[in-house]
């Protein structure tokens, strides 16, 4: 950046700061001491990448979560061999933008992977995530080999006491969980907590040992640095794979929070369901993983 650019940018910033109150969307340039911290940001009406920018800005920017030189795992849902408009996988533009912002914040390395359900290469390709994330500079890694997963204890787990977890999640400094909001035959909904099933190897154990309890147990153990719920395209039925585009509603929404229970609770409401009906949410809340009482949380609502 040369000096002229810098000056121009500063002028822009100060104008934005000055205008913002008039527009009703205060831009927190500097965290003000008197304001309580924001627990959850909800954005609607924009494109996935731009909604993320607006949302993360409200939380003070991604550099709050991603330190200089840190290693980051961005974990989207890439479970199925379906194109983005089928809403089976997280939005590729959102994933790419998060990767870019990680590097802007000074990340040294950004990894993207998922333990897919369909053939991983086809999922990575068809979802558009492999291409978009690679272009943004991420290292796209396979989640398809048991050799990448290592046994970890899940302390306090009621059904799940240990799991095989992907080494990148174990070794990286930051985990950004990027689920897509979808209906789900077994778990009712798949959002942030359910998306973490993609960082473990033996999912069959979860399915055969009280799925909801296992999801809650693992969420208590593995807390992502940040959860970004993609609700741009939302699969309203026949999830998690879906049958056709007829299953999909275009909600154009997004939720960001460090609280995985809060973000799942809010997403469930977005979907049109009662959070208590998705059993792993109250189970996780009861374990103190996060909060379901949205009315008591500081929620930043942004309409783009």
């Amino acid at each position: 950046m040369d000096r002229r650019d810098f000056v121009r940018r500063m002028v822009g910033v100060s104008m934005a700061a000055g205008m913002a109150p008039l527009l009703g969307t205060p831009v927190p340039l500097l965290g003000r001491e008197d304001e309580p911290p924001i627990d959850l940001v909800a954005i609607r009406g924009g494109e996935p990448d731009m909604m993320f920018d607006r949302g993360i800005e409200a939380l003070g920017g991604l550099q709050v979560f991603v330190g200089r030189g840190s290693t980051v795992v961005v974990k989207p849902n890439i479970g199925w061999d379906v194109p983005p408009e089928r809403a089976g996988n997280s939005n590729p533009r959102l994933v790419a933008r998060i990767v870019e912002r990680c590097f802007d914040a000074g990340a040294s390395k950004v990894y993207v992977f998922d333990h897919t359900c369909d053939d991983w290469k086809r999922c990575y390709r068809r979802s558009g995530i492999e291409e978009a994330a690679s272009r943004a500079g991420a290292t796209v890694v396979s989640g398809d080999s048991k050799s990448y997963y290592h046994e970890v204890d899940v302390p306090g787990g009621r059904s799940l006491r240990s799991a095989m977890e992907h080494e990148l999640v174990l070794e990286s400094d930051v985990l950004i969980n990027v689920p897509i909001l979808k209906s789900h035959g077994g778990a009712r909904l798949t959002i942030a907590m359910k998306n973490l099933m993609g960082v473990v190897w033996d999912r069959g154990f979860w399915h055969s040992n009280d799925l909801h309890q296992c999801i809650a147990d693992f969420a208590a153990y593995r807390k992502p640095t940040l959860n970004v719920v993609d609700a741009y395209y939302v699969m309203k039925r026949n999830g998690p794979r879906g049958v056709s585009e007829g299953d999909v509603a275009t909600l154009k929404a997004q939720l960001i929070s460090t609280d995985i229970v809060a973000v799942d609770t809010a997403a469930t409401k977005l979907f049109g369901m009662e959070p208590s009906a998705v059993r792993y949410i109250p189970l996780a809340a009861d374990r103190g993983v996060g909060r379901m009482d949205l009315e008591k949380l500081q929620i930043k609502r942004i309409a783009v």
Partner: protein, 512 residues
């Protein structure tokens, strides 16, 4: 061209072809263009002849070209185009390196060879390719590469991937490796052992005793235009040609060549210190036939005619090999139309198994009975047939799996879902699961309310039989949901039409 150089040319061509054919079976990254596969396999005689039964195409031209080539220049197929031939040559070369080998003229066991041919035909007419499954050389070689070389490649790739990953480099992706070990140990390796042993001790004996392609081409080569001929005028009677003949078909004492057994390797031309051997039209020089229509052959032909006549006179229904009656019988791959078509056209080369991205296609042993020995099957224990994949249907060189479009595949019913409610987690453990419904691409399995939980409900009319539910089902060892094979593939019905999402507009207001 100097005749001595023919051996070099043969060596070069055969090694190139061996490399390409090996690559077909060794390509876990799917980098080879499909046309390479088509071009190379079209010239494999028996797969192409078998495929021609289901329709005429490039493969028909390939088979015709092979027969024509043999008619013109003898069994060069056996020395250059056949991967198992080249494999045997490598074994022979290794044996020779250990202990220099001297071959001796030995008339091949023609009766056995003819018997193989006749039995192959009889079995074929009865609806089984059992002798091709056992003896077809391209298929034997394919099985060898798939069972031995491919796992080695995958294992070394995975070792490299693991080492690099531990250094933080994720440049090499690990590859999946599952194989039906039983089928490999009991099927592929014994056959391989036999062929290697024969090559090591007796040269190309397999080609002139058990190989059905050798039998066919041998008959054609009897009347081929160009043959190896000993020229009595220039022959110095040194006997070198006989000593290097791995088909043991040169009788240097009587200066005669059995060109039915000659695999056109041209070692003799290379070894001859003079120009005592020529490659020419018999009769253009003083060439003698070693088998001037011996009575044995006449008997064979008569016997063949009698057997075939008898076979053909039978009503064909009674001859169709008794189908495997055990249920559930294995699921056959998409495009194979069903068990009958598949088992009567598959030469068990395992190319489909090699290209299958999920390895749901597995080498078989006796899954389709003895009549379908080694033929592959779908194994839903650890994998399923991807809804969006038709890779195997484009790979089959023998027409057992027919090419189909992706749209056809998506409505093709390989089998039908069966649900054992009493085995299901939701009933036995009273917890939610839904792994089956989660994976089902058509929602032939869906979760419906059951007390406070949700239980799978199946609709086998829209089931495509892909096995995703069976693979995903966590109950062990008996899966609570599985696919029952259809003897003949069917058509899955369209999933019931659902209204498009009513409120598909963007969110107007946050509900919290």
């Amino acid at each position: 061209m100097e005749l001595r150089k023919l051996r070099q040319l043969r060596r070069l061509l055969s090694m190139v072809l061996l490399a390409v054919i090996s690559a077909l079976f060794l390509d876990p990254w799917n980098v080879l263009a499909p046309w390479v596969r088509e071009a190379v396999t079209a010239f494999q005689l028996l797969p192409s002849l078998t495929k021609s039964l289901v329709g005429v195409g490039l493969w028909t031209a390939g088979a015709a070209a092979v027969l024509l080539l043999t008619l013109l220049v003898g069994r060069v197929y056996c020395s250059t185009l056949c991967p198992l031939g080249t494999y045997q040559d490598l074994v022979i070369a290794l044996a020779h390196r250990r202990r220099p080998r001297r071959f001796r003229y030995e008339p091949p066991p023609y009766l056995l060879h003819y018997a193989v041919l006749v039995l192959t035909l009889v079995a074929f007419l009865a609806g089984s390719l059992v002798l091709l499954d056992l003896l077809e050389p391209f298929s034997i070689y394919g099985r060898l590469v798939h069972a031995v070389a491919r796992p080695l490649l995958v294992a070394s790739t995975n070792a490299a991937a693991l080492t690099l990953a531990s250094a933080g480099v994720y440049a090499v992706d690990p590859l999946p490796l599952t194989t039906n070990v039983g089928a490999v140990l009991l099927g592929t390796l014994p056959v391989m052992g036999l062929i290697s042993y024969l090559a090591w001790t007796r040269g190309r004996l397999f080609c002139n005793s058990l190989c059905p392609v050798g039998a066919i081409l041998g008959l054609v080569a009897r009347v081929s235009m160009l043959r190896i001929v000993i020229d009595p005028a220039t022959c110095k009677e040194c006997g070198l040609c006989e000593k290097v003949c791995k088909a043991s078909c040169i009788d240097s004492a009587s200066k005669r060549v059995d060109y039915q057994a000659c695999v056109s390797c041209f070692n003799c031309l290379h070894a001859c210190p003079t120009v005592g051997l020529v490659y020419a039209r018999p009769g253009s020089r003083s060439a003698q036939r070693l088998h001037p229509a011996e009575p044995e052959r006449r008997q064979f032909l008569a016997a063949t005619a009698a057997v075939l006549g008898g076979v053909l006179a039978q009503p064909t229904d009674s001859l169709v090999a008794a189908p495997p009656t055990k249920t559930p019988h294995p699921v056959t791959p998409p495009g194979s139309l069903g068990i009958e078509h598949f088992t009567s056209r598959c030469t068990a080369c395992h190319l489909c198994v090699s290209v299958c991205p999920t390895q749901v296609l597995q080498p078989g042993l006796l899954d389709f009975g003895l009549a379908g020995i080694f033929q592959p099957r779908m194994d839903y224990a650890d994998a399923y047939c991807l809804f969006e994949c038709i890779t195997c249907t484009a790979a089959c060189p023998s027409g057992a799996i027919m090419p189909i479009s992706l749209e056809e595949k998506k409505r093709l019913q390989l089998g039908r879902v069966r649900f054992l409610k009493d085995e299901c987690i939701v009933i036995t453990k009273k917890t939610d699961c839904g792994a089956c419904a989660e994976h089902c691409p058509t929602k032939a399995v869906r979760m419906v309310p059951h007390e406070t939980l949700r239980l799978p409900e199946t609709n086998d009319e829209i089931c495509v039989g892909c096995g995703a539910c069976e693979k995903a089902c966590p109950t062990k060892p008996q899966k609570a949901i599985y696919v029952e094979a259809l003897r003949r593939h069917g058509q899955a019905k369209e999933p019931p039409k659902e209204e498009p999402q009513p409120e598909s507009g963007p969110l107007e207001e946050f509900p919290f």
